[in-house]
Each structure stands twice: as structure tokens, then as C-alpha cells.
């Protein structure tokens, strides 16, 4: 027994912490900090100027190649977006390969490959490395741009732009760039439907010829490969790449606003506001301030820190509030952002500015600074697991001309950052008195909420300034007068009264498909509208004066009471001729900006109670917009129709572009407009 006891006690002595004497209330201390060693890399340069870095990592049998071009940004002007399109097209064709062949080649070896305007990246298992490198080189050296592919890209871009019209985050990002850099700087240019339309193969080819040159390129080779293996491959596939002159550009740096100002962009029906406080900064990667500035930004909002703790944890205004300080070779930006409920927008702005001021005015307490540095330390350590990190360090050291020990000293430098450093950086880079406050949401709410922050400027979703409607309703103006002006501009009351029938036909393109639109009306109140695709009818809406129905691909739904009432009114060709007999009451409601032009707003109440509005351009008198709201089980839904491109048809001015917006947007281009063309009643048959 005794022997057993002794050995038991001995065991306890040898292995402290075994069952019984563990005090779980004690938080374990960290062990000695592990040595963090950055991996090595090899470097060689081809005769044509291509600089190559090789980072060996034999943990897994895989390899990755990144080709990067270092050049000045390009001011795209009226074809904004062509640089990005060029990047996408690299993936879609070379002199000897079609898109399908490229797709097959990449997928066959289970690789990943993507292209951008100044970069090509490919990753695969080592055994397929040569295959992907050859493909990459083919794209870089022998790209071929084909109209078919450009057309596809343009169509997709249009869909993306459309989807983004409703997305407050897309809008905010665009406006951020416009405000920080201005529209005349490459970083602030805006791609729209119009600029996308102007993208041509010629532009893409010129860009490619100018910038895909080895003398401005870096190639990072990372993974299960040695320099001895990499070199002959790179020589083989990139050796024939011709160096060439590369255009350079300089741009004047944007300036911060002279006083903090507010930029408001309207988003219909928004219950939340996307809020950003931002301004440009000059802070280059690798500059002596760079690491200290990062620390300052982290303290403010680079994680769950001051902005997060204030606006989320403490006040509950938002799900998350953060800040970002973007370094750039030319010019970067500071942005503090969050999404907040409408009611707390003003309060949120106050808190954002408060925190920006606090970090400038007061020294960061030692404990808080220590926490932030530990966080950044951990991030750095974890980033080293990815061999791409070392490659990035190697390339950055070269392209930004950093000292060779910049990254190996990173943690040491980080540890040496003081509270005084943080304050100095905050004073240089966080400028609460010279910022833009960007708010995307309900403009009416925002303009009143934020008026006290600074001068308010309104912008549309593309960053164009919107002038507030300074046009007042003239004294004594009546609905009748507005109608008369419209009728006159359209051809005169007398002429319009002779129109008993109208036929219109047009088309609209949607996702690569062409749909045909045709609409006929016959006085006093027959109408039919048909949408078809490739000869097949997709939708028909018809009213014969008594009854009506809508047929969606064979499924017929008869108009109910409300539908019939509405149909009677919508069947009118020029309802402004006589609203009284139709039982419509009208009221002049004010002046609104429609597409940056003032327009008189007329409110209509139809028989049955349904409401609609029509806007008539102040200058021309023409109808520019009509909207109506319908009750649905999901709540009220608004349909807005815009009219433009008025053209003369037999002495009558009629809109040839009709844009219908009801959640989705249809832009119809009328190809044919005819009056009194002898329409038969059978055209309006419901059964």
C-alpha cells in the first residue's frame, strides 16, 4: 500500500495539473512569444524586364502564379469601364484559343484562373503548373479581343448596373469615390449605361498594347516549386514577351473639402441610411507613417474597437461601425462607415465625428493600445500561413521601393508605436472638420436631419449634382393650364381631338433577349398591349370597353372591379383632353425634379378612388412621368413610367422612349407610332 501511495504522490509531483489541483478560475498565461520568421524568396529578372519572385512552400503539392502590372491609372472619360472590360476579356480569347477552349483547358486540370485589367492569377496542383503558366502567358502575350465577347460583357454590365440602382451599398461606394477623388480623377470616374455603350474593341486593344509589357510586370511564383524549376519555365513562356514604352500620366491630387459638408443621395423607400464620413489622404504604402497610421485606424475602427463599441455596443444604432484608411501610391482615402436606422442618422454622424475628434484630442490609454497591438500582431501571424502573403511582401518591397527588412521588422515596428504616435497620425489622417458626410437613404429625412452638420449637397445615384427645385409653383397656375400647355406642345387640342386610334410598336432588350412591345388604343376606350418574344406572346393585356383581362403565357386573369375602372382610364389616348367626363378629379401638387428638370406635379384621383400622378415638364409642357400606386397583398406597389424622346408623327409630338419601372425596369424604344390606322374591333377581343 505504502509503495503505491508514494508513487502516487511522486506522480502528482512530476505531473502537476493532474486531476484534483487545477484551479480553473485562473486564466492561463501566454507562453513565450514564438519567433516569427518570414519565409525566404528568390528573385530573378528576364532580359525583357519581367521581375520574378519565387516563394517555396512544399507543404502541399500545389503552385500559384500571379502576374501584376504596375502602371499609372488611366482616365477613361466617356467610355468609363473599358479598362475593366479589357481585364475580363483577357480570359475569353487568345490568338489560338476561343473562350470555350480556355474554359476547357482550365477546368480539365482542376485549376483556378482569373484575369483583371492589371493582373492574371492562376493556381493548380503542381503537376499541372506548366499547363496553367502557358495559358497565363498566352493571355498576357497573345490576347485577342472579339466583338462577340465584348457584347456579352456589356450586356452583363448593364444587368449589374441595373441591379445596383436599388442597392444603397453600390450607390455609396460609387459616391465615395466621386466625393473623395472628383469625377476628373481616374479613381473617381463613374461607369454608367451611357459610358458602357461607348466601350469599343479599339479602346481595349490600345489599353492592352500599352500596358501588357514585361518591363512593368512582376510575376510571383508560389508553392511547391524551386527557383531552378521555375526559371526555365518562365523563360520558355515569357521570354518572347516584347518590352515596350508604357505611357505615364500624372493627375493633380484631389483636396479635402474646406469645411465638412453633407452629400445626400436619395434611395426610394429606404428604412436605413448608409452613412460614411470620408476624405482623401496622401499615405503611400511603406511610408514611415504607414504602420503607425494603421495602428491609429485600428484603434478607431479597424475591428471591434471605438466606433463599434460606441455605435453598436453602447448606443445600439447599428449592426457594425468600422473605419478604413486606404494607402495608395498616388492618393488614398479615409472612410468611417455604418448602416443605421433613419431616426438615428443625425445622432450617428455626431458619434462618428466625436470619435474622430477624441482620438485626435486625447492620448490612447496604454491598455487600449496594447489590446490593439495584440490584435494586429495576431493578424500578422495568422496571415503568414498563406504562402501568398510572402509573395505579396516580396512584390510590394519591389514595387513600392520598401527597405528589404520592412516586413521582417513589421512586428518590431508595431511594438514600438506609442500613444503619441497614434495621436499624431490621427491629427494627420482623420479630419472631422474637412470631411464629406455621405448619406444614402430617404433624402427628405436626411436633408433635414443633417442640415446642422454642414452645407448639404444633393447627388443622383451616378454622382451628378442635383439642383434642388428652386422653381416655385407660379401664382394662379391651374391644372387646366398645365394640361393646355401639354396639349399645345403635343400638337394642339384641335389636332389631338381628331386622333381616334393609336398604334405603337417597339422593342426592348433584356439579358440578351429581344422582346417586342405593341400597344393599340381605339376611342372611346378600347386598348390592347402585347409583349412577345421570338414570335411567342408572353403577355397580353386587353380591354374591349366592357370587360378586360391579362393573359400571362396562357394563364388568363379577368380584370376585377378596380381593374376595369383603371382600364377605362388607361385606354384614353390623350386623357388631358377631358378628365371631367371620365370622372377624374385633379389637383396641382407642386414642382419636382424629374431627371434634373423641374416638372409640375398633378395628382389625379380616378373613379373608384385609385390615385395617380403625372409630371409635366415646366419648360416644354410635355408629359415626362406618370405613376400609379396599386394595393397588393404585399402592400402598396408603385409603377413609374417615364416618357422621353418626343418626335413628330403626322404633326403630333409623341414620346418614343418609354421606361416602365416597377421593381424591374423595362426600357422600350418605339419603332413605329401611327394614328388612325384603321384598327378593327377584333383586335381588342377579350375572349
Amino acid at each position: 500500500m505504502r509503495k503505491g501511495c508514494v508513487s502516487f504522490i511522486l506522480a502528482l509531483a512530476l505531473f502537476p495539473g493532474l486531476a484534483g489541483d487545477l484551479d480553473r478560475s485562473v486564466v492561463p498565461q501566454a507562453g513565450p512569444a514564438p519567433e516569427i520568421k518570414l519565409g525566404d524568396f528568390a528573385f530573378f529578372e528576364l532580359e525583357n524586364g519581367l521581375r520574378v519572385f519565387v516563394v517555396e512552400n512544399h507543404k502541399l503539392p500545389r503552385v500559384a502564379f500571379s502576374l501584376m502590372l504596375e502602371h499609372d491609372p488611366v482616365l477613361e472619360g466617356e467610355a468609363a469601364g473599358y479598362v475593366r472590360a479589357t481585364g475580363e476579356m483577357l480570359r475569353r480569347g487568345t490568338k489560338t484559343r476561343t473562350k470555350a477552349q480556355i474554359d476547357e483547358a482550365i477546368d480539365f486540370v482542376g485549376a483556378r484562373l482569373f484575369t483583371a485589367d492589371s493582373m492574371i492569377f492562376a493556381a493548380s496542383l503542381k503537376k499541372h503548373g506548366e499547363t496553367v503558366l502557358e495559358l497565363m502567358a498566352d493571355m498576357a502575350l497573345n490576347a485577342e479581343f472579339r466583338q462577340e465577347e465584348l457584347d456579352k460583357i456589356k450586356k452583363t454590365t448593364l444587368s449589374e448596373l441595373q441591379a445596383g440602382r436599388d442597392d444603397p451599398n453600390t450607390i455609396a461606394q460609387r459616391l465615395r469615390n466621386v466625393l473623395a477623388y472628383g469625377k476628373d480623377h481616374p479613381y473617381g470616374e463613374v461607369q454608367t449605361e451611357a459610358t458602357t455603350d461607348k466601350i469599343s474593341l479599339e479602346l481595349c486593344r490600345t489599353y492592352y498594347k500599352n500596358f501588357f509589357r514585361p518591363n512593368i510586370a512582376y510575376l510571383a511564383v508560389v508553392g511547391d516549386i524551386t527557383e531552378a524549376e521555375a526559371r526555365p519555365l518562365v523563360e520558355k513562356y515569357f521570354g518572347t514577351w516584347q518590352r515596350g514604352p508604357v505611357p505615364t500620366y500624372t493627375y493633380p491630387n484631389p483636396v479635402t473639402p474646406s469645411q465638412t459638408s453633407v452629400a445626400v443621395v436619395h434611395k426610394e423607400g429606404a428604412v436605413q441610411t448608409v452613412l460614411e464620413v470620408l476624405h482623401p489622404v496622401i499615405l503611400k504604402p511603406g511610408s514611415p507613417d504607414a504602420i503607425k497610421a494603421s495602428v491609429a485606424n485600428t484603434v478607431l475602427g479597424g475591428g471591434t474597437f471605438r466606433l463599434y463599441n460606441n455605435l453598436r455596443e453602447d448606443k445600439g444604432y447599428t449592426y457594425g461601425a468600422f473605419s478604413n484608411l486606404r494607402k495608395d501610391r498616388l492618393v488614398g482615402e479615409f472612410v468611417a462607415s455604418c448602416s443605421v436606422r433613419n431616426e438615428v442618422t443625425a445622432a450617428s454622424v455626431q458619434e462618428l465625428l466625436f470619435e474622430m475628434n477624441r482620438i485626435r484630442d486625447e492620448l490612447v490609454p496604454a491598455e487600449e493600445l496594447s489590446l490593439v497591438k495584440n490584435f494586429m500582431n495576431g493578424n500578422f501571424a495568422r496571415s503568414l500561413e498563406d504562402p501568398q502573403t510572402i509573395a505579396r511582401f516580396a512584390v510590394n518591397t519591389a514595387r513600392y521601393d520598401l527597405g528589404d527588412d520592412y516586413y521582417s521588422n513589421y512586428l518590431k515596428t508595431l511594438a514600438g508605436v506609442t500613444s503619441a504616435d497614434v495621436q499624431a497620425m490621427a491629427r494627420d489622417f482623420f479630419l472631422p472638420k474637412r470631411s464629406w458626410v455621405l448619406a444614402v437613404g430617404d433624402a427628405d429625412v436626411l436633408i433635414s436631419e443633417l442640415a446642422s452638420v454642414g452645407p448639404v449637397h444633393r447627388f443622383d445615384i451616378y454622382g451628378n449634382p442635383v439642383k434642388p427645385a428652386t422653381v416655385e409653383l407660379p401664382e394662379g397656375l391651374t391644372v387646366q393650364a398645365v394640361f393646355e400647355a401639354y396639349l399645345k406642345a403635343s400638337g394642339g387640342r384641335e389636332k389631338l381631338q381628331t386622333v381616334k386610334q393609336i398604334s405603337t410598336e417597339g422593342s426592348f432588350a433584356v439579358g440578351g433577349m429581344n422582346l417586342v412591345y405593341s400597344s393599340h388604343k381605339k376611342a372611346p376606350n378600347k386598348s390592347v398591349t402585347v409583349l412577345s418574344m421570338e414570335g411567342n406572346e408572353v403577355m397580353r393585356s386587353v380591354f374591349d370597353g366592357q370587360k378586360g383581362a391579362q393573359i400571362n403565357q396562357g394563364m388568363k386573369v379577368d380584370f376585377d372591379e378596380d381593374g376595369l375602372k383603371r382600364a377605362r382610364v388607361e385606354a384614353q389616348i390623350f386623357l388631358e383632353l377631358d378628365t371631367q367626363t371620365l370622372g377624374i378629379t385633379t389637383a396641382l401638387a407642386g414642382v419636382d425634379m424629374i431627371n434634373a428638370s423641374p416638372a409640375y406635379k398633378v395628382e389625379l384621383t380616378l373613379p373608384g378612388g385609385a390615385e395617380a400622378t403625372r409630371h409635366y415638364d415646366v419648360k416644354s409642357g410635355l408629359l415626362v412621368q406618370a405613376s400609379s400606386t396599386m394595393e397588393t397583398p404585399q402592400g402598396p406597389m408603385t409603377q413609374i413610367v417615364e416618357f422621353s424622346q418626343y418626335r413628330d408623327v403626322d404633326g403630333i409630338s409623341y414620346p418614343h422612349a418609354i421606361i416602365i419601372n416597377m421593381g424591374q425596369r423595362m426600357e422600350i424604344q418605339l419603332k413605329k407610332v401611327a394614328f388612325n390606322a384603321g384598327l378593327e374591333d377584333t383586335l381588342f377581343q377579350v375572349d
Binding site: G17, L18, R24, V27, P28, Q29, A30, G31, P32, P34, I36, K59, L60, P61, R62, K99, D103, E104, I106, D107, F108, V109, G110, L125, K127, H128, T131, S159, Q162, E229, P232, G303, T304, L371, M376, G378, A381, R382, L384, E385, D386, G511, G512, M513, L515, M533, V538, G548, Q550, N552, Q553, M555, V557, D560, D562, M630, T632, Q634, G663, Q664
Partner: protein
């Protein structure tokens, strides 16, 4: 040797692949906790993870959402951690952490600098032994879960599709309810019920502790014993559901109106559990259909016919019979019916014609690439070690599972297409814009 590289690809095709060998040590403590350790000193970090073999399928049908709720509750503190301490301690240690829940398991992990391993172990032991299950925490996390549901499901276009598929595909099996569960059930549940769930499932004999990274195996064993050795095992055997979902005999279809711009078509087929031969064949089949720009659906329907803006096909690996989902969004102007017909046509092709040898080789290459990359991080390795042990009872599959994929033949692909991708075995959902619902009503 200029040509040496050229013969390598050939060599590797002929030789069965051993991508890399993940070495590991595993053992089970007296209390049933299974422990797996993988040493990798390349980077000074370590991933500590705890795999609890409890998911939504273990829940009481009147109390759904419990498993996921615990994922949140376990951040509320423990006997020796106040509310907020968990995140604060890890932040200060330079670590990241997260947790996920699905139908079969709940998974917690931290990635820490390697000199903080003991902190990670202490924290997970705290959560296993005596997490705070208190009213304040329950009330707070109920609100958080409500917000999460809003963000992930309600406010996200097509966000409810998984929930809807499972609701339609199962009538008896616990997979029929969503992982996030019913907010009503969570509101009705008492503190005692939460405590009972914790006592039943959050026990060492229902868990796997998987650690990968810059560690020393001997020292780590000691630390594991120190913090987990005397945690008592569960008092009763773990309840595992034994319900077998009856065979589906007819196609199930439904239409869901959502805040979306473009209609979506989802087709989901019932498939056998992970690890079965047919599952591997179905996985390869889904790869054939949608992985890469040259895949069947992308090449034909997205690029050539331009009927879809997006297509994807993925099998869900689950412990009981799961689902394989084909998810597609129409291009503007295309109807969901047309898209469905186009998808059906591609599936028919696979049933009618054997794929080519070259295509099979492509699938094998794609799978091999995936297999190698899944162990690229210590976090990935830790998760995979636990998963292979829990579901397959064989941790060595972390090095060998690829072989099962490579055994799948062209005939297998055709066979499983014919057997499983049939109308009576599927759920078809159309996601339509809310505007369409109004149109249909008003005419």
C-alpha cells in the same frame, strides 16, 4: 533538363495519388472525449476546435432551434468567464474565433498564436464543463438570433431557399425543420429545458477535440488531460433520432414570392448519406454539371443559350439521407419554365449518354485539386480530422478519401443520374418576384 517537366504530368496520372500525408495522433480520454492532434510547425499559430455531435436533427420537434441557439449561448460566459470575457480575452490574445451549426453537428473553433494554446483549451473546457445558462443570456441571444434570421433569411434575396427545400422534402425526418428553428419555440422554452439540452449533449463523450498547428504533441497531451481529464461524462446515453423518412413517391412543387429581381429555379433531389458509394458518384455528377465555366450547365445554359445568369449544383453531405440541389437564376426575359426545361434537358443528356473518358478525367482532376486544398490551413485540417472521425469512424480518410472519388466510373455517373435525378425524387421551387404575384391577382 528542359524536358523533365513534360514527363511529370504523365507520371502523376499513372501513379495513384498520395496528395500529402497529414500525420496525427488520436486517443480517447476515460470520459469519452476523443482527441486528435496534428503537429505543423510551419507557422506559429494553432487551431483549437471542438466538434459536438449535436445538430438540429437531435432536437425535440416542439423545441426546434436549440442546437443553433447554443452556438450563441456558449459565448455568454461560464463559471469563470463573465459576459464579454470570451471575445475580449481572444482579442487580446491576437486570436480569431467562430462557430457554426448544421443539421448534424455544432462546431466551435479558435485560431490563436501558438503560445496561447493553453488559453484556448481552458476556454473550451470552461464551455463544456460549466457554461452560463442564465436567463439574461437567453433573453439577449433570442434577440440576436431574431436579427440573424432577418439578416440571413428574410432580407436576403432567395435567403429562405434551404429552409423551403427541406420543409418540402421531408415530412417526418428531423431534417424537415430549419437549423435556425422556430423563434416561437425559443420564446416558449424554459431555462430548465435549455439546461437539460446542455447536460445531455455538451458532454465529453459526445465531443471531439481536434487541435492542429504549431504544437508539441507531448505537451499538448498533458494540457488536454489537465483541462478535460476530469470533466465528467454524460449521465445518460445520447439520443440519436432513428426516424427514416418514407420514400418520396411523387414530385413536390411550389412557388415562393420573394424580394428578388429575377426568378430562380431550384431542383433538389434526395440522395444517400455521405460516405456511401452512390454519394461519391452523385458528388462527381454535380461537379460535371456545374464546376467551372466548361461544365455542362455553365457552358450550355449560361453561356451558349444565355438562359441563366447563374447555375450551381451541389450535393449536401449529411449523416442521414440528404439533398442534392441545382440552383439557377434566369436571365432577364427568360421564364422559369424555360430554364427548368433547359436544366432538365442537360440532366437527360447525362442519363442517355455516357460521359467521355476525357470528361471523367477532368472531374478527377477537379476533385483532386479540391482535396489537396481542403487541408491548406490548420483550421481546415482540424475540422477535417474531427469530421472524418465523427461521421466515418476513420480519421485516416483525411489522406485517403480521394481514392473513393477516383473509383467512380462513367457507368456509375449514368446509373446515379438515372436512379436519383428523377421527378418523383425531387422538390422543385420557383422563386418569383413579388411583382408577379400582384400581376396574377389583378390581371
Amino acid at each position: 533538363m528542359k524536358n523533365s517537366w513534360a514527363i511529370w504530368p504523365l507520371l502523376f496520372v499513372l501513379i495513384p495519388l498520395r496528395a500529402q500525408n497529414i500525420e496525427y495522433t488520436e486517443f480517447t480520454l476515460d470520459n469519452g472525449l476523443h482527441v486528435i492532434l496534428h503537429q505543423d510547425n510551419a507557422t506559429p499559430i494553432v487551431a483549437v476546435s471542438l466538434f459536438y455531435h449535436v445538430g438540429s436533427k437531435n432536437e425535440n420537434p416542439e423545441r426546434t432551434g436549440f442546437a443553433h441557439f447554443f452556438e450563441h449561448l456558449l459565448f455568454e460566459g461560464s463559471k469563470h468567464m463573465k459576459r464579454g470575457d470570451f471575445d475580449k480575452l481572444l482579442l487580446n490574445a491576437g486570436a480569431t474565433n467562430n462557430a457554426t451549426t448544421d443539421q448534424d453537428r455544432t462546431f466551435y473553433y479558435e485560431v490563436l498564436p501558438s503560445n496561447q494554446l493553453e488559453l484556448g483549451l481552458w476556454m473550451e473546457a470552461e464551455r463544456m464543463l460549466h457554461a452560463n445558462i442564465l436567463q439574461e443570456g437567453v433573453d439577449t441571444q433570442r434577440e440576436v438570433v431574431k436579427e440573424e434570421r432577418r439578416m440571413r433569411v428574410d432580407n436576403r434575396p432567395y435567403g429562405s431557399f434551404m429552409e423551403q427545400i427541406f420543409k418540402h422534402a421531408y415530412s417526418q425526418h428531423p431534417y424537415r425543420w430549419s437549423v435556425i428553428g422556430s423563434l416561437e419555440h425559443l420564446n416558449q422554452a424554459s431555462l430548465e429545458e435549455f439546461m437539460a439540452f446542455y447536460k445531455e449533449f455538451y458532454v465529453p463523450d459526445n465531443a471531439i477535440l481536434s487541435i492542429a498547428g504549431d504544437l508539441d504533441v507531448g505537451q499538448t497531451k498533458q494540457l488536454v488531460n489537465k483541462y478535460f481529464g476530469d470533466i465528467p461524462r454524460g449521465e445518460k446515453p445520447i439520443k440519436r433520432p432513428e426516424i427514416v423518412e418514407p420514400e418520396q413517391t411523387a414530385e413536390i412543387r411550389d412557388v415562393i414570392y420573394d424580394n428578388v429581381q429575377l426568378p430562380g429555379v431550384m431542383m433538389s433531389y434526395r440522395i444517400p448519406p455521405q460516405g456511401t458509394p452512390d454519394f461519391y458518384a452523385l458528388d462527381m455528377l454535380m461537379t460535371l454539371l456545374s464546376q467551372g465555366e466548361s461544365s455542362r450547365l455553365n457552358k450550355e445554359i449560361k453561356d451558349r443559350q444565355q438562359k441563366a445568369l447563374f447555375t450551381g449544383a451541389f450535393p449536401l453531405p449529411m449523416e442521414d439521407a440528404g439533398q442534392s440541389i441545382i440552383f439557377s437564376l434566369v436571365s432577364m426575359g427568360v421564364t422559369p419554365e424555360e430554364l427548368e426545361a433547359a436544366l432538365e434537358a442537360e440532366i437527360d443528356k447525362v442519363k442517355q449518354e455516357l460521359i467521355s473518358e476525357k470528361e471523367l478525367q477532368k472531374l478527377r482532376n477537379q476533385k483532386e485539386n479540391e482535396f489537396v486544398n481542403q487541408n491548406a490551413t490548420v483550421f481546415g485540417v482540424a475540422g477535417n480530422l474531427a469530421r472524418y472521425h465523427a461521421y466515418f469512424g476513420d480519421t485516416s480518410l483525411i489522406n485517403k478519401e480521394l481514392d473513393r472519388y477516383l473509383k467512380v466510373t462513367r457507368e456509375d455517373l449514368q446509373r446515379v443520374a438515372r436512379k436519383y435525378l428523377v421527378k418523383k425524387n425531387r422538390v422543385v421551387l420557383y422563386y418569383l418576384p413579388k411583382a408577379e404575384q400582384k400581376k396574377e391577382k389583378n390581371g
